[in-house]
């Protein structure tokens, strides 16, 4: 199923060298507001990442809204991309979305198993939250 936001991301990364890809991730991370210290709790931390990632969510209308942060910019940039796609969607939508852009922009092919695990843990957490929203 094609997804306008994912297609947009794929376009942005098209033809970029790794240096530019990382630059893009870092600059998108910079645009994300820093999460308030009080929410950077153990409970909101995702394990399985070499860097720390914090994700919290709340329902806004019937849509799920996520806030996130990471102490590493490249990680934060990757979460930013994932949530650019999944943020403010209905929980069922989130569960139905196939994140095909990750393969397409060449992030996954460059990820070692440990790093891929980190990314998978982030996506798993987002889906878990969505599942709670559905039930």
């Amino acid at each position: 199923m094609s997804d306008a936001i994912q297609d947009e991301i794929i376009k942005e990364f098209e033809g970029l060298e790794w240096f530019d890809k990382y630059e893009l991730l870092i600059s998108s991370a910079r645009e994300v507001e820093t999460m308030a210290e009080e929410f950077r709790t153990e409970e909101n931390t995702i394990s399985g990442c070499q860097s720390k990632v914090w994700i919290r969510s709340y329902i806004n209308g019937k849509r799920l809204h996520f806030e996130y942060d990471s102490d590493a910019m490249i990680t934060k940039g990757i979460v930013a991309l994932v949530l650019r796609v999944l943020n403010n969607r209905y929980p069922q939508d989130i569960l139905d979305t196939d994140l095909y852009f990750i393969d397409e922009i060449g992030l996954k092919s460059n990820l070692s198993p440990a790093r891929a695990d980190g990314l998978m843990s982030i996506i798993r957490r987002i889906r878990e939250i969505a599942e709670e929203g559905v039930s």
């Binding site: 790794w18 240096f19 990382y22 630059e23 870092i26 860097s51 720390k52 102490d71 490249i74 990680t75």
Partner: protein, 393 residues
Amino acid sequence: MIDAAKDFPILEKEVYGRRLVYLDSAATTQKPECVIDTIAGFYRSDYSNIHRGVHYLSEVSSERYEKAREKVSEFIGAGNPAEVTFTAGTTDSINQVARSLEPSLRGNEVIVTGVEHHSNIVSWQMAGAILKAIPIDDDCNLLADSLEITDRTKLIAISHASNVLGSVNDIKDIVSIARDHDIPVLVDAAQSIQHMSLDVKDIGCDFLAFSGHKMYASTGVGVLYTSERFSDMMPARGGGGMVDKVTLEKTTYLDPPLRYEAGTPDIAGAISIGAAIDYMQKIGMDKIKEHEHEVYSYARDRLLEMDDVTVYGNTDEMCGAISFNLKGVHHYDAGLIMDKMGIAVRTGHHCAQPLMRTLGVEGTVRASFALYNTKEDVDMLVEGIEKVRMLHS
């Protein structure tokens, strides 16, 4: 300067279209061709189980395995090959001592240092010991004067060189204090054995632990030196190959070293340690030390001249590893960017979380060196740092 890179086939490799600059030798060293050939050659022509066959191959294998033990014994200055046992690595060596001494350690104290790696912390805790750490000053020098030995102190277990900082601890100083109190000392030499000559008799320690894979040999094999003083220590593991007489009522054990080598050991691994020792000795440990010192000092100088780089630790003697951070840059980002330039560094807490807490950081970038690294590798590291900086500006 020595030119050893040519001996290591993997160093010809390109990653992401760039020359591999391998600066993660504190995690594990690459293997020279001669070690790889020895392992392959052993499996091809001499392989069999040891110490139990009457047949030709078993004899040859046993001989090669015991020859490796002799080489290790001479290499570390042990008086007798029986003091050398092959284990699965540094962690396993430490764990075996912890298991063997557990009855005396439980509820008592083991003294470690403030720069320890987790394996020299966790094993003692698992044996029920209470840990006390010799504190470090701002430069990460051990404050040996703060060493407090009490009636409950049963062992001192210290790393020779820090896997994070590259700081070399003055172990002789600590061993001599321990000797006065008749406390045994275990030295974790995982991060020093490949960088300098060691002499256990000169150090005066009772135990010395190190791994094969950090000294150009195989993974999954290591050494535990146990001084004759502890030759009747209870073996940590039981099974075949370590027993004298077995009845259903009672078992008696062989003398060291076989007493401590239950089951089939990593025969090829042990032989690879022998080959690695041959390789290092052919170059010469003094030459290795001199070469590495030059590369290491050059790296420190280059890093120290950068205003936005913090280098951790500054002791009189240093070797192997350098840990640093760039101002405003997460170590993980730095590692990812350098990786894309073909530079293999390590990032994170390096299995030394208490030390990270002392330094007040979550993690560091660690560049670590071996005999095959050159000043050119350091220049590449500096270029990598510049790229990291550029991406964060």
